[in-house]
């Protein structure tokens, strides 16, 4: 039996998105070896003026601009799953909806700053560095909504008082772990060098790998849960 409510379609957008995001990440010349915050204004300007870099900066950031909000439908489905949990109020699903737009909106703002830096690379290097700093600081330090989203989801799972809970308990533990991994990035602006700097082990690699892992794991958990529910409904019908 095939369903026409579209949830399966939304789920299948995820692998496609993963591919697009990964390509955009690899395409942006400032990510694979993350740009150092210790670069001078002239070095930053040279990065944007480099004819090798410029088209890659623009195309990768346009791709991110198009697709960075595309995970929201999956989070909307997640809020619906929270609604199905054995809670007495819709409060926790409201909390998740509140967080859903925050992360992508802030990433979009960072994306705009990167595109602005690349828009007129012949601009005064001080201004190019300003846009570059605004982009990196916004991209790196804005982990608050992602942390809260994981915490609210974990709380929702712990409070799911049903014999057969919607998500397994391990999903809550996993979300707590991801929340912890995102914490150091908030402090990235305090230093220009080391693990906490925006190109550092904690603020760049641990944070971004945690976000990537969260998307893969939660996408898989969502797919499994939604397909299980569809099968159960089909069996009843």
């Amino acid at each position: 039996m095939t369903r026409t409510d579209g949830e399966t379609i939304l789920l299948w957008t995820l692998p496609a998105l993963g591919l697009i995001w990964l390509s955009a990440f690899l395409l942006f010349p400032g990510f694979v070896h993350p740009m150092s915050p210790t670069m001078s204004a002239d070095e930053v300007a040279a990065f944007y003026r480099d004819p090798e870099n410029l088209p890659r900066i623009r195309f990768s950031m346009i791709l991110f601009n198009w697709f960075c909000v595309a995970f929201i439908p999956i989070i909307a489905m997640m809020a619906l799953q929270v609604r199905r949990m054995g809670h007495r109020t819709p409060i926790l699903s409201y909390c998740i909806i509140c967080c859903a737009a925050g992360g992508p909106t802030l990433f979009l703002i960072a994306d705009l700053f990167w595109l602005l830096a690349a828009f007129r690379p012949d601009r005064d290097p001080e201004l190019i560095m300003l846009f570059n700093d605004l982009a990196w600081v916004t991209f790196t330090t804005q982990v608050g909504y992602l942390i809260a989203q994981s915490l609210f989801l974990a709380a929702a799972i712990y409070l799911d008082r049903q014999a057969e809970p919607v998500f397994g308990r391990w999903v809550a533990h996993f979300n707590l772990l991801v929340a912890v991994a995102l914490v150091p990035a908030a402090f990235a602006s305090l230093t220009l060098e080391g693990a906490f700097a925006w190109d550092g082990l904690l603020s760049f690699w641990v944070k971004n790998i945690a976000i990537g892992l969260w998307i893969v794991v939660m996408g898989w958990v969502m797919a499994k849960t939604v397909l299980r529910q569809h099968r159960a409904e089909a069996a009843v019908a």
């Binding site: 915050p37 054995g86 809670h87 007495r88 109020t89 819709p90 409060i91 926790l92 409201y94 909390c95 998740i96 909806i97 509140c98 967080c99 737009a101 925050g102 909106t105 802030l106 703002i109 001080e126 201004l127 560095m129 300003l130 700093d133 605004l134 600081v137 916004t138 330090t141 804005q142 982990v143 608050g144 909504y145 992602l146 942390i147 809260a148 989203q149 915490l151 609210f152 709380a155 712990y158 409070l159 008082r161 914490v183 908030a186 402090f187 990235a188 602006s189 305090l190 220009l192």
Partner: protein
């Protein structure tokens, strides 16, 4: 906290006892809101000292000096703001829930939820981002630092519509409500809060005097109203949760 625990659960450890408390979700959202507002007031007023704000009329050297002398507190304080921002979701969710208890369309709750969910981005985070970017490189071109200074404080004071419309949505819901979730006078306090966003508009036109972003009218009256409003709605939400009677009945579907 006057919570009388009606525990429907079979006697278990402390963990399962609180987990099964019928109002646990409400108290969790409530205390998360309290934690956020404590962070907010301590970080903005005491730790980073960005409130009460420095003056818009300052010459650039004075602005540079302000950034230099507050540098560490600005950077570390706003790092903590970035960490706890998402907790505002709990406050918005609880207020939206209060509207779901009212005899009004769910559209009010949904509208409030969306408006306040986006309000923190221009109204708080852009301010912190601009100040962070200015403070992290004191050697930056002074003109650029001065621009970031204006950007920061005008984003904070000059983001008006989200709080204006959000408060009006809550006000109308309370006035229409027949379930008496909140007293009617609180609707008019919402109107006062909405009007502060009208009063703050001249800050976009004046750099000194009572209408500037640090002015006696624009800042001091608005902050007084905001403090009273926040204290009152926290108290009323607490009363709402205490009054809420889920008993130990079955969970909703």
């Amino acid at each position: 906290m006057s919570v009388t625990a009606v525990d429907p659960a079979p006697a278990g450890g402390g963990l399962s006892r609180w987990r099964n408390h019928p109002k646990f979700e409400l108290w969790l959202a409530f205390w998360t809101m309290i934690v956020f507002y404590n962070f907010f007031f301590i970080l903005f007023f005491a730790y980073t000292r960005v409130q009460p704000p420095p003056e818009p009329a300052w010459a650039i050297p004075r602005v540079l000096e302000w950034f230099t002398s507050h540098r560490f507190n600005l950077l570390s304080g706003f790092a903590i703001v970035f960490l706890v921002t998402g907790l505002t979701g709990a406050a918005n969710a609880l207020i939206a829930y209060s509207m779901r208890r009212m005899s009004v369309s769910p559209a009010f709750a949904h509208a409030y939820l969306v408006i306040y969910a986006l309000s923190a981005v221009p109204g708080m985070l852009l301010t912190c981002i601009a100040i962070t970017v200015a403070a992290m490189r004191p050697e930056r071109d002074p003109q650029v630092i001065a621009w970031l200074y204006d950007f920061a404080f005008m984003a904070f004071d000059g983001t008006m519509g989200v709080f204006l419309i959000g408060s009006l949505v809550w006000m109308v819901a309370i006035l229409l409500d027949k379930n008496r979730v909140f007293p009617k006078w609180f609707a008019y306090l919402n109107l006062c809060n909405a009007l502060t966003e009208v009063v703050v508009a001249p800050a976009w036109m004046f750099t000194e005097g009572v209408f500037a972003w640090d002015g006696a009218i624009t800042w001091w009256i608005d902050v007084a109203v905001f403090m009273i409003y926040t204290t009152v709605f926290i108290t009323l939400l607490r009363n709402m949760i205490i009054r809420e009677d889920f008993s130990d009945g079955p969970l909703p579907d």
